[in-house]
């Protein structure tokens, strides 16, 4: 009878106002049958983590186009740890140079999806982690 549904927080940390990408991903995940909590623009890492805990999501998707990802993304994973919520998987997207990806992965970001990624790839990524 128990029916698990995948819940994901899609958030935009930092100060850029470009959320088309985040909305496209949110929409695609919705169409894949997931529950997507969209928190809107200009969220601090604290707000993102607190919302993720209250919403009990399994994933956080971060979108950042301002170039501040190396600062903001690791802050999110660090705060998750401090809140005993490091089981929440974090992935990211946006304008992120490939040189930065190893650093982000070392800091607990599970995957980075750059421009041009098909939404199917993100869905497959999420589903495969859920079935583990």
């Amino acid at each position: 009878m128990s029916e698990r549904k995948i819940r994901i927080l899609v958030a935009k940390p930092g100060l850029d106002g470009h959320d088309r990408g985040a909305k496209v991903v949110a929409r695609a995940l919705r169409d894949a049958g997931m529950e997507v909590i969209y928190t809107g623009l200009r969220q601090t890492p604290e707000q993102i983590v607190r919302a993720a805990v209250q919403e009990d999501v399994q994933f956080i998707g971060l979108s950042c186009l301002s170039g501040a990802h190396n600062h903001l993304f690791p802050k999110v994973t660090q705060l998750l740890k401090e809140n005993d919520a490091e089981d929440i998987i974090v992935f990211g997207g946006g304008v992120i140079p490939s040189d930065d990806i190893p650093f982000l992965k070392d800091n607990g970001i599970k995957e980075i999806f750059g421009p041009g990624t098909s939404t199917d790839r993100i869905i497959t990524f999420i589903n495969s982690l859920c079935n583990e």
Partner: protein, 318 residues
């Protein structure tokens, strides 16, 4: 300490991680959720429940955000259940009510949970009710339920509240008519949001006229309050009217009467839910199919088949 006891302890201490996990158990209709509710129920009953409903785009979320800010300024805490629609086709949902209240996320006196309707008949009402219980046991002074725009199910959810606010806006025109027929009857308070827009005073007047034509006692007529949620104008008045309403009901016994009626509905709901599950697990799809063929060939009727299946069920229930 077993899992349920641990959950009970942590929820009583208002541990957010556990509150959130408990709500997930409820949403997923997990067996443990029922055990948890049974264990927690003795700690419930101290919170006041406010329901907010109205058509899409009326400004419900913005209003809720401002209302919570006001409640916080009075030193009280608040739990929020925000419901958005799930797709009937994919089951997915975009839950976007939090966007209207970002500053509340960092407030320790506020717990916000978004919920999808998940398309199950009656299931959402059950999930909402049980979520309110969790927030109640966690010690929140108020719980606010914000529903999706329209429909019968939404009126059910709001009926779990001690006070129901129906949000309207100017310029809905003919939609006012649907308001009259539907959620009109469950409102304890009316709000005309976006009162700085043209036609707001007309909407207030129309609502007041409608109330006067209904069967309310003069002293129990729901107030109609113009409000501008974006600027917070009228919010303190709204809250004091809600408080007045609840206090008056506590004093004249209506509060208890209302909650007891709600409990009766709740028991009936749970029974119906359990019956559905019982039917689902005891009648195989093949049994329907075999009978459908007979009915199609006019060798039997839908009523005769239902009676036959019912007697099978009754035998199994014994």
């Amino acid at each position: 300490m077993n899992n349920i006891e641990k959950f009970t302890e942590e929820i009583k201490n208002c541990n957010r991680r556990y509150i959130a996990k408990a709500i997930t158990l409820i949403e997923n209709q997990d067996k443990e959720a029922t055990e948890l509710i049974n264990n927690l129920y003795q700690y419930c009953g101290n919170t006041k429940i406010i329901g907010i409903t109205g058509p899409p785009g009326a400004g419900k979320s913005t209003l809720v955000g401002e209302l919570v800010k006001h409640i916080r300024s009075l030193g009280k805490t608040c739990g929020l259940v925000l419901v958005d629609p799930s797709s009937p086709f994919t089951g997915g949902a975009i839950l976007g009510d939090r966007i209207r209240m970002p500053e509340l996320t960092n407030d320790d006196g506020v717990f916000i949970r978004s919920m999808g309707t998940r398309g199950s008949l009656g299931g959402l009402t059950k999930a909402t009710r049980d979520t309110v219980k969790i927030l109640d046991a966690s010690g929140y002074d108020y719980v606010i339920i914000e529903t999706v725009g329209i429909g019968q199910a939404e009126t059910d959810i709001v009926q779990t509240a001690d006070a129901v606010v129906v949000v309207s806006v100017p310029g809905l025109g003919d939609h006012i008519q649907t308001l009259k027929a539907g959620i009109m009857e469950i409102a304890d308070l009316f709000v005309v949001n976006k009162a700085d827009k043209d036609g707001a005073s007309k909407t207030v007047r129309e609502l007041k006229l409608m109330i006067e034509m209904s069967n309310y006692e003069v002293s129990e007529r729901p107030p109609v309050l113009p409000i501008v949620s974006l600027s917070g104008e009228g919010i303190p008045e709204l809250f004091s009217k809600i408080e007045d309403f609840i206090t008056r009901n506590i004093e004249n016994g209506n509060f208890e009467k209302r909650r007891k009626e709600q409990l009766m509905f709740e028991i009936q709901d749970i029974l119906q839910y359990k019956m559905q599950q019982f039917i689902k697990s005891n009648i195989k799809e093949s049994e329907y199919r075999d009978n459908v063929d007979k009915i199609y060939n006019h060798e039997s009727t839908p009523y005769l088949v239902s009676d036959k299946l019912l007697s099978i069920l009754l035998n199994k229930g014994e």
